[in-house]
Symmetry: C2
């Protein structure tokens, strides 16, 4: 869908906005009018890659070469699809479709919870084994000059596990690297990223996650759950195994882009629900970050899946741990009960806002550093082996720094304070433990709960500040490695550490008003996370559901809002930054201000490339090959621009559908009647892995080239169109569409 | 916009779907094809008024006579509006618009909270005075044969207050009757109901609410808060006082239908936030019940207003009651802290689902009875005096039944159990109180908390059952009276009473597993409310936020879902039922199954009524007068259907804009140049109370009739169009639009 060459025509509102987004991003318009300085200015202020740079670096063909196309958003109204629609249009059929939909949604939630439980269980087992081994080594070598041996053992285990994680991702599924949230966001936004929803990607993501988290990297398992949930949804809803050519007939109603995308949204929400025990948060995550169309059934669909996911996960957790059927709602990570969160003074709220500012600044700096690192990686760390080595190096650094700081910082607290299963004594007294160890020698989730809940005297300010600085840079280096890695928990940990420092200060200044520093740790965690990812509404609800208390909602929302605004002033959010660095054209929610001066004829191409209702195959192929568009308008009647005669637009057809027609040789016989017709099953079996046009063309014979193709029964006979004077955007989201026909 | 006569053309997606909804509802199509039996069957199974009935009873003109038109959804792209758009298109201007928007949103939240506090305070004061007076009378006359005197006094006070409430509504603003939720729902759905957003309506609603609630009717103050919030939003965002011709210039950007509707949505959410202390619930309420377009800025807009509203209300409450600035988040009604809600057994969940079924059935019966009553009222209680008398009669009934049952049912509990400020002893021992009195002789909110929290032995099963039956019918009679009345609290009370009965049974059977019946009371309340209003997602979050505990979310959601499905099987929700009874065409979320067989040419009219770009005023007026449409297509070129020549669609114009043109006499001079042009200010000052076409026409002279009007500069030059073969709906919400031009 390159807009400098093709008409902006196919599909509905979304495609149009996407097309315009492409054009503006690339600085291209048909009459080669340069993008106005206003737009360039705005981009350069907010993004690390200002427009002129993007313009030189990216050619539309590069985007096409990546194989990233837009999803379809509309019902293809041709005779075959209409016939199928009529079949499913009866009440009974529709009810049964709804029943199937709910079964599919249930399975999505169920499997997501199962996957989450399995991952959680494996991480628990491996981590427990690791910490037990290392802590017994520490106890043995603690007092001698061999005290560094446990450190080497710990490093060795971690580097090995991280190496495994990196090998899996680098060699089997590079798209499984990172949290997957930017990719899922793009997918829901309408970009069909290749290999994102494959089963292999999910398996690599899951296994890589187990090794990365238990390998002691500064990563969380929550973000990747969103990706895993999405893949599960894409898989179950399509009910098809491509390589053994098996597919469920009664799921064919769901095998089209809009339906699939809705299920993927539900899967993402189910992932959030499983990770944080936050079904409503999951719903809002999908709505805020992903879905471009929101309608009531979608909302319900998403909520149902995420509810099932959370329910099943909570039940599995309870049955495994307590062998009873009595469960407490919750997810993989739980922040524990905050007993001290009931009322707020107005001064406290002001303090929270200040923390929001700090979190925003801190988060923006994090994003900037990480973006620079990513650019560096894109240039220099390109081979698979280098990626694995880099991950192992970072793992070594993380572990050795952690081990050193445990010895260097002597911050002892009474043993009674801790809930850590492996408290290390190190250089402390007999009934004490090293509180640095409960931060560094622990799974990230447990460290987080420690910061939220351990009593006031547990940590000294200096050890928290050291932890903050170290973890900040370690987390920053880690995100972007070639391993599955979530960013939520590390960001929360960073924020909780500086938040708790503020809490300790407040506590020592006004011990009566602020009996526990945990409240500030929570707000700090939220501020930091908000400053990095820039979500407000969904993050509020997710954190609210994770703490189990509604009363934290208001202060959380205020802090997150401030953190977002402050952060946005300094940089983009980390997901958007990474999307930008991968040159993906995410469609923004708001139209660009420049668009108010642009009309359809400014960005459409001329002369328009079009097809005729009946064409010789050879002519068709020449036209399609020289214009690599995603779809073509079909025009009837005399076209002669010199005489202002543009014919009549009678339909559109996508390149994929042209490919199906050519592959099945739906040509006209010599008497003008079709030799055979396409059936819905042929369309269905081609979805979504359409044969490449190149491959189809190579199979055509010389004789085929002379045949005639009647496009009329297979074109979408009801394209939308607007006059060419239409403004490309108005102030508010308008749902319209382009047609360059006056 | 009558679809049997006019073209279905003006505007975007919404208007199209609305038009089709009209047609299907009325059973009208241009070629007089009867609605298929499938559709009729579906309607009659679900609605009390099957289609054939609706068809005979309603004529499109009746709907037009009500003056209900659809809102505009799109930017009117004509030269005047484009010029204004360019002015506001610069970055600086856009930022200042955003700042103004946030100030407006803050004010909406602030004023809604203020209004809610004032109403709450007045109700508290009047109720306290009333209960103190009556309880002192009861103490004086308790033991003699004059025990009925306090009853008469109580009745007198209540009847007087209710009478006041009814007089206000019946004589000043009949649209302020009821909760206002159905009307706000229609408004957000896109129906421009007259007088709904007037200041007078709000004042009457507020004052009527104070009198109705303190008058002891079975009504809550929460539903009407949503309407009040909406009116506040509509007022503040428009910044205009019509009768003194004063308007704020810098708010003119917000004076158009889409912007105003977004603000009204935010106001409705602010109302929910103030009523229940539920900002996220308020957001979801607006999304679930109202807004048809959802986009990120709208979400944020709504949340910001509702957050401010809840914050200000909580602060005002705290400052008034405790004189400190330390506040607990919360709204007008709070369900108190449920300490016993932490974990659930799988059996309990099953029990909750059964309760959901009961709630659904109970709710559907409630809706049915209420619908019959409403039909009866529409026929027989038509005069204003009758309405006032009816309200007073119901008030008398409510109070006298309440007083009798307090004497008839001797259910005594230890005084230590109650938190009721006026516990009545009646026939109980010295250190006991009559527990029936804490239900009936109390504000509904306090009765509700009593049912949720008082210890297990407080109420006997028999008194709860009696209360349930009585309150069920009283609430059913009350909703639909000519007073401001919310349904949430009565419904919750009904459900809490039967829920608590179940809780008592469970408690007596398994005292260890179920120590407190309050959990079941909460679930029962949710099930009953869900069975009546049929909200799921937003209601879950609202109730979750009101209880302050996230852990109730999952069981609440399950119960509400079951209640909704069971209820939907038996009847429509009460709001939809009332909307149907008022013959308003609410646009459903899902397309009708029948629509999959309908194409644009099936429901469009032929021949199409259209205007020419340049017309003699007399011809224009004749055409407009004989076709009372909301808008007209403008067609250029030769039109001769016999030769299949339909001209070219070049634009559209709405009747309101035609009115402005005629009013300002924008005619051409004799040399063909315009005598004067319209400015944006003239459009702005006409919005939204457009002059009636009739009035404009009466001012035109004979000479004017001969003048020529050039519509081209003022028409919307970019209407959407689709071929006439377009299917009216597809499986999923499609955003398209009609044009009957091939």
């Amino acid at each position: 869908m390159a807009c400098d060459e093709g008409p902006l025509i196919v599909g509905g509102a979304e495609v149009k906005r996407r097309a315009a987004s492409y054009c503006y991003r690339l600085g291209i318009s048909s009459d080669v009018e340069p993008i106005s300085p206003v737009y360039g200015h705005q981009r350069s202020r907010r993004s690390s890659s200002p427009l002129p740079l993007v313009r030189e670096e990216l050619k539309p063909h590069e985007i096409l070469d990546q194989g990233v196309e837009s999803f379809g958003y509309d019902f293809v109204q041709n005779s075959v699809f209409i016939e199928e629609l009529m079949k499913n249009g009866t009440i009974g059929k529709r009810y049964s479709i709804e029943v199937i939909r709910h079964v599919v949604l249930f399975l999505i939630g169920f499997c997501t919870a199962l996957a989450a439980s399995l991952i959680d269980y494996l991480i628990e087992v491996i981590s427990e084994l690791k910490y037990r081994t290392v802590s017994s080594l520490i106890v043995r070598f603690e007092s001698g000059w061999l005290f560094s041996i446990p450190g080497f053992a710990w490093c060795g285990i971690n580097v090995f596990l991280t190496g495994l994680a990196a090998v899996l991702v680098a060699f089997l599924a590079p798209i499984a690297a990172g949290s997957g949230i930017p990719q899922v966001k793009c997918y829901l936004n309408g970009l069909n990223l290749p290999r994102l929803m494959r089963c292999l990607t999910m398996v690599v993501k899951g296994a890589g996650l187990v090794f990365a988290v238990s390998g002691g990297l500064a990563v969380g398992k929550e973000g990747p759950m969103i990706h895993i949930g999405s893949v599960i949804a894409a898989g179950i809803s399509q009910g098809r195994i491509t390589f053994c050519n098996w597919s469920l007939r009664f799921l064919r109603f769901f095998r089209n882009d809009p339906q699939k995308r809705d299920f993927v949204g539900a899967g993402a929400a189910a992932g959030v629900a499983a990770a944080f025990g936050a079904p409503v948060g999951g719903l809002l995550f999908t709505l805020e970050e992903g879905a471009s169309f929101v309608y009531q059934r979608l909302t319900w669909t998403i909520l149902f899946a995420s509810m099932v996911s959370m329910f099943v996960l909570a039940l599995i957790k309870t049955v495994v741990h307590t062998r009873t059927f009595s469960f407490t709602p919750g997810g993989l990570v739980s922040f524990g009960t905050f007993t001290f969160l009931d009322s707020y003074s107005i001064y406290e709220i002001l303090m929270f806002l200040v923390m929001g500012v700090f979190g925003g600044v801190c988060g923006a700096v994090f994003v900037k550093i990480n973006a620079l690192l990513t650019q560096y990686r894109q240039k220099f760390v390109t081979s698979k082996y280098a990626k694995v080595l880099e991950a192992m190096l970072v793992s070594f650094l993380t572990t050795s720094i952690g081990y050193s700081f445990m010895w260097l910082i002597r911050d002892c607290s009474p043993l009674a304070f801790t809930t850590n299963p492996h408290p290390l004594r190190l250089m402390c007294a007999d009934n004490e433990f090293n509180s640095m160890s409960s931060l560094l020698f622990n799974t990230p989730e447990r460290s987080l709960r420690t910061l939220f809940h351990e009593p006031p005297g547990t940590f000294s300010v200096s050890s928290l500040v050291v932890f903050f600085v170290v973890y900040y840079f370690v987390a920053c280096i880690t995100y972007g490695l070639s391993v599955s890695s979530g960013l939520f928990i590390p960001a929360l940990l960073i924020g909780a550490s500086w938040g708790r420092v503020i809490g300790i200060w407040m506590n020592s200044s006004y011990p009566e008003s602020f009996p526990h520093p945990g409240k500030f740790a929570l707000i700090g965690a939220a501020a930091q996370l908000g400053g990095i990812v820039r979500m407000t509404l969904s993050l509020t609800v997710i954190l609210m559901e994770s703490t189990g208390s509604v009363l934290v909602g208001l202060p959380l929302l205020m802090t997150l809002t401030v953190a977002k605004y402050v952060g946005d002033f300094l940089s983009e959010g980390i997901y958007d930054e990474h999307i930008g660095l991968s040159s993906l054209a995410l469609l923004p929610w708001e139209p660009d201000p420049l668009s108010s001066t642009k009309r359809a004829h400014d960005i459409m191409c001329s002369p328009v490339v079009f097809l005729s209702p009946c064409m010789r195959v050879g002519d068709l192929i020449r036209k399609v090959e020289s214009n690599p568009h995603h779809g073509f308008p079909i025009v009837e009647g005399p076209v002669d621009p010199a005489r202002f005669s543009y014919g009549t637009l009678i339909g559109t057809i996508s390149t994929e559908h042209l490919g199906i027609l050519l592959k099945h040789r739906i040509f006209l016989k010599e008497d003008g009647t079709p030799a055979k017709s396409l059936t819905f099953d042929e369309y269905d079996s081609a979805y979504p892995s359409y044969a490449k046009l190149k491959d189809v063309l190579s199979q055509l014979t010389e004789e085929d080239m002379e045949a005639t193709l009647d496009l009329q029964p297979y074109m979408c006979e009801a394209p939308y169109s607007v006059p060419e004077v239409t403004l490309t955007f108005a102030f508010f989201p308008v749902d319209n569409c382009f047609c360059p026909f006056a």
